[in-house]
């Protein structure tokens, strides 16, 4: 094994032409992911998490413009790779689990057809072998009577089962990277935890790298090696999970972490910490810190600058304040 990261992204930028002008949906994202590592991307709705993951997979709508300084997967330049090369990576070495389990399976084909398709596309195996692998994985994701499920159609399964099937499908070729985009948001609360647990267990068992996109900081605290906090299209803070939870530097991250209800600390019926204010428009030129409109540490130069600050252990954040807190010297 080499030490180079499995996935390396520098300056990933996504622009969407709209009738009102260019929407700068994602601006200059940097991160690295090693084999077997879990990166959790957190951030509120619309911050660009799904777009980022689709950009990595090469599945963006054609009208969205993608640029990057670097975007490599195990040494392969994802920007220069041919469509054929990308196709060979997708489903085989990197796969994705989507936010919408109800609609992500093709209604016209059986579960078995859809599961085996992934394997048959990438590996030279017989149909019987592919079927056996599908059964094995359905059992792994906790589906009972796996063999009889193969001949069922998506509409015959519940949302939770469909997402399990999606997970099994993503694992068919034992990929090195799995991107799971809010895999449980659309599901019943009672099964959310089960599905996440399952995903993380399988990831450890198969030693895959995982990018888990989620709103749930409780989950992040439990599973993440690295955390990337996204706000309005920028990564405002990244670093090892332990460092970020111990010492959240960016005011937005601090706000998020204060939102986690802690038994005993919050009084019953007390309001959870929420961050007031609205997200800036990303249409047209975006300058300064995107969070300044909601930030209680705001100073005048936040309108024009949000420099990158480096803390020990690869912990980074973007803020005019060297430690994320306003001190009198800065405002002066």
């Amino acid at each position: 094994m080499n030490d180079a990261p499995l996935l390396s992204v520098r300056g990933l930028t996504l622009d969407i032409p709209t009738s009102g002008g260019t929407l700068h949906a994602v601006r200059g994202i940097d991160f690295d992911l090693n084999r077997g590592e879990t990166l959790c991307i957190v951030g509120e709705s619309g911050s660009g998490k799904s777009l980022t993951s689709l950009a990595l997979m090469g599945l963006l709508a054609p009208k969205i413009r993608r640029t990057a300084v670097r975007m490599t997967f195990d040494g392969t330049d994802l920007q220069k790779a041919s469509r054929r090369q990308l196709r060979q990576l997708r489903g085989d070495r990197m796969s994705m689990i989507f936010q919408e389990p109800m609609t992500s399976l093709n209604p016209a084909y059986t579960i078995g057809d859809q599961l085996t398709e992934t394997l048959l596309l990438h590996k030279k195996v017989s149909r019987a072998k592919a079927r056996a692998r599908a059964i094995e994985l359905l059992e792994k994701v906790g589906i009972t009577a796996a063999e009889s499920r193969l001949s069922q159609y998506p509409h015959q399964l519940s949302g939770g089962l469909r997402q399990r099937v999606m997970i099994a499908m993503a694992l068919m070729c034992e990929p090195e990277l799995i991107i799971a985009d809010e895999p449980t948001t659309a599901l019943d609360v009672t099964i959310q935890a089960q599905i996440l647990r399952l995903l993380v267990d399988l990831q450890r068992e198969m030693n895959m790298a995982l990018i888990l996109i989620t709103h749930d900081l409780g989950v992040v605290a439990r599973v993440a090696d690295k955390v990337a906090v996204m706000y309005a299209g920028e990564l405002v803070e990244t670093g090892p999970a332990s460092a970020i939870f111990r010492n959240p530097a960016h005011p937005y991250t601090r706000g998020l972490i204060n939102c986690i209800p802690v038994p005993g600390r919050n009084e019953r019926g007390a309001r959870l910490g929420t961050i007031p204010g609205i997200v800036p428009s990303l249409v047209g030129e975006v300058t300064g810190c995107p969070f300044r409109g909601r930030c209680d540490q705001r100073v005048a130069i936040c309108d024009t600058a949000a420099p990158l600050r480096r803390l020990p252990d690869g912990h980074e954040f973007r803020c005019v304040h060297p430690d994320g807190h306003r001190h009198e010297e800065v405002t002066a």
Partner: protein, 305 residues
């Protein structure tokens, strides 16, 4: 799947029975059939004799049972006008109409489906615009006029195709184009709309995420779902073409069943009209049934319906 087919078959038979009763009762809705046969100027005794001869004096349900029993054996009585068995008459005319109908729908599908797919893959492209133009033109241009234009160009000016008759396969080229062109716009627009909708579906993204090639995504994953409503439409149009190709049949002097129906109505030839209505209705029923089965095969969700 088998249960679904049986259920639909039962339903189809029920509809067929209802239709047969309606087409039978037409005989009585259009006045006294005995007078129709004898002619307006016939005297009362002649009418009474005819009434007894054809059994019009029996209770209606008995007559219906009798008629249905014979119809089931392809005996629709004798044409008042031709004095020939209606069944033979229809069989001869129907072969022309069926050939025309099948050619027409195949032609329409062969043009409309690929055009609709391409238009959906490249919306607002040149091909999309051409397809839109063709479909608007197809909708706006009356069949008889389009038929006449083709006759003027290919039969009169270039002299490469026969203008009328049904003797060789060349005779069917122009009628097929006219009839197919009539059915094309709706099929094309439905294919395009279906493809556009399906291509933005989440499961298409899943197929791409698996590493499926663009062709596989389009044809295996998208078209299979987009074509479902097109199948129903094509079935209805096929039924329509078999019964309603009267205009095309008269322009090209193809003496098919549609033309026969039109003539027979004018001649008050009730057994023929009755039988034709039943046959056309049965075509509709058969095609809807086939479309249902095909749809259920394409879309598993329908099988439980």
């Amino acid at each position: 799947m088998l249960r679904f087919i049986l259920k639909r078959l039962g339903l189809a038979l029920l509809v067929a029975l209802t239709v047969s009763f309606i087409s039978f009762s037409l005989l009585f809705l259009s006045g006294d059939p005995a007078i129709a046969i004898a002619g307006e100027s016939a005297n009362a005794e002649d009418v009474a004799a005819i009434r007894a001869l054809y059994g019009f004096d029996r209770p209606m349900m008995v007559q219906y049972g009798d008629w249905l029993w014979h119809a089931l054996q392809f005996d629709f009585g004798v044409s008042y006008y031709f004095r020939l068995p209606v069944a033979d008459l229809i069989a001869e005319r129907l072969s022309v109409t069926m050939t025309l109908g099948v050619c027409g729908i195949v032609f329409a599908l062969l043009i409309a489906v690929p055009l609709g797919v391409i238009a959906a893959i490249r919306p607002n492209s040149l091909i999309d615009r051409i397809a839109l133009f063709l479909s608007v033109a197809g909708q706006a241009m009356p069949s008889f006029w389009f038929g006449l234009i083709l006759i003027v160009i290919f039969a009169i000016q270039l002299r490469i195709l026969p203008a009328s008759g049904a003797d060789t396969w060349q005779h069917f080229i122009m009628p097929t184009i006219v009839l197919g062109y009539y059915a094309m716009p709706a099929i094309m627009r439905l294919t395009r709309a279906g493809m556009l909708e399906v291509l933005s579906a989440d499961y298409i993204r899943t197929a791409r995420a698996k590493g499926a090639s663009e062709g596989r995504v389009l044809f295996k994953h998208a078209l299979r779902n987009a074509i479902i409503p097109v199948v129903s439409l094509a079935a209805v149009q096929m039924g329509f073409m078999l019964g309603g190709s009267i205009v095309v049949e008269s322009v090209f002097a193809l003496h098919g069943a549609g033309y026969l129906a039109w003539e027979s109505i004018g001649r008050n030839d009730l057994p023929t009209v009755q039988a034709l209505i039943l046959v056309f209705a049965l075509f509709y029923i058969v095609f809807t049934f086939l479309a249902d089965v095909l749809n259920a095969w394409l879309d598993p969700r329908m099988r439980s319906a």
